[in-house]
């Protein structure tokens, strides 16, 4: 499978792969995976030149999942678009498939999992590409809870200062973080207003609407683009949606079967 595929089908296939991997490994973060899997499907299914990523060319498009705890979503999408990844090994003893994104896995550019590190890295990549005259995309996906990390704000300031138009930042705004809502944890207020004040190009959209996502990514701007993707944690499985517990717990057997049924019938 390559670019310009049916991204909705891609996301659906990935949702099934994700829950199988997380159920088998009894690992966390299924809610975080489901809030961003539509975004990943559009990025890899419709935007990035995947063949160049597979060939590891120096001028390839470049994606970093800064919210590395959604690794199962990234691995699943990468597998669907052609990378040699066996999700049955996810989190298993001796496997490269760490449950936070690992650069040892084919197609993963940067190991992540400690929040607040990916954006600065992407900023450097975008800056180097611009200086070298390389016309490729650099995309960084962060979570809204991740914005608690001050290091991100150093990067936002610099992205604005440098006007890196080849860098796109996506915020997976699912409004939940580790213990409760983002509002009750560290109220972010209006992200659109904040990023607008930074002189960034802000696009505020439904993060599960593939067509809207695609248009947002394709919009031209002379500034660094920030796509605020409004999402639902656990999206696609009714009993997981918007529930903080699915940041942590894996499904039991009954929940697994019910979730699979919902995903397949969607």
């Amino acid at each position: 499978m390559r670019c310009e595929t049916n991204t909705v089908a891609l996301a659906k296939a990935a949702r099934e792969t994700i829950i199988k991997a997380i159920y088998a490994s009894k690992s966390s973060h299924i809610g975080s995976c489901y809030s961003c899997v539509d975004i990943l499907a559009v990025i890899y299914g419709a935007l990035l030149k995947v063949d160049d990523i597979i060939k590891n060319t120096i001028d390839r498009d470049y994606f970093v999942l800064s919210k590395g705890h959604a690794a199962a979503a990234l691995y699943s999408i990468l597998k669907e678009v052609g990378f040699d990844i066996n999700l049955e090994d996810y989190g298993a003893n001796g496997s490269d498939l760490m449950t936070h994104a690992s650069c040892k896995v084919p197609g993963v550019e940067l190991s992540s999992g400690s929040l607040g590190l990916g954006l600065g890295h992407c900023l450097g990549r975008a800056l180097a590409n611009r200086k070298d005259g390389i016309d490729s995309k650099v995309i960084c996906l962060l979570s809204d809870g991740e914005l608690n990390e001050g290091s991100n704000w150093e990067s936002f300031m610099m992205a604005s200062h440098l006007k890196l138009s080849n860098l796109t930042i996506v915020i997976d705004k699912n409004n939940l973080q580790s213990l409760t809502t983002t509002e009750n944890t560290l109220n972010l207020g209006s992200l659109a207003n904040k990023f607008g004040q930074f002189d960034l190009e802000v696009i505020d959209i439904d993060g599960h609407d593939h067509q809207t996502l695609r248009l947002a990514f394709q919009k031209k701007s002379a500034l660094t683009k920030v796509i605020i993707a409004n999402t639902i944690k656990g999206k696609g499985v009714s009993f997981m949606e918007d529930k903080v517990e699915w940041h942590y717990r894996p499904p039991n057997q009954g929940e697994y079967r019910e979730a699979l049924r919902e995903i397949r019938n969607a």
């Binding site: 120096i58 470049y62 650069c103 550019e109 940067l110 190991s111 992540s112 400690s114 590190l117 954006l119 600065g120 890295h121 992407c122 900023l123 450097g124 990549r125 975008a126 800056l127 180097a128 590409n129 200086k131 070298d132 001050g150 290091s151 150093e154 990067s155 300031m157 610099m158």
Partner: protein, 288 residues
Amino acid sequence: MRNTFIRTLEKIAASEDIFLLVGDLGYSVVENFSKNYPSKFLNVGVAEQNMAAIASGIASTSKRVFTYSIANFPTFRAAEQIRNLIDYHSYPVTTVSVGSGLSYGNLGYTHHGVTDLGLMKLFCNHYLYTPFDPDEVAFCVQDITKNSRPSYLRLGKTNEPNLSKQFRYSTYGDWIVRYLTPQRNSRLIIRIANDSNILTRRVNDLHLYDQISIPRWSGTFEDEIFALLTEYEEIIVYENHQYNCGIYSTLKTVYPNMNNMRSLALNSDCLTSVGDEKYLNEKFLNFN
């Protein structure tokens, strides 16, 4: 040392694909570089975490990147960026810290680089460069650009003198030893500190000691290092760093039975006095 660093880097920049990031520091040091190589230079502002992260991103395009700031700012402030983004991915980034030891004198404890090696030696892919005089700085910068490893370069701030006319360097795996004197004695001083007054005052019969420096090292040891050390009846490790987390402690961890090795360094107490480097060295650099 910092002037030798920037002059050497400027020469290299003429032909190599390098990049220099500074954390809003380097007044009267980096101006020529920024003017002559504007496409290879960026002041990231007072934002050391971002500086390390940006460096990793630039280095992902195969450029050699140097980050430059004072003492603890580019190291401790950005420790996790260095660990995860630079060291784990083994990107060719060199973290440059100016102000080793007590170079920044009366600026106080925040500006003293006395525990930096304790942090940086934890990063398993890193080379540690600890030049003790300007000639070694030039050697180290050249060596950095010849390999693709991440590294840490520790520099003095002032106009430290060159102290040896000997330029015999020997490589033992990750370690490079410079023989500062002819090898003819049974006692040895290993030094990464420049201040010779302290040695003169603290060590009796200094002329009876061979001296070596360690411009490059890591946490990986080679048998030749052990063989070199066992040639000597007495060894003093002289470093402008806390004794419990620098090069002495590293050697002592690997060779715990080497009871003939002593540390001439800072103790582990936080410094509270004010003074210039010379005063502070005299007061605080002692046998431990």
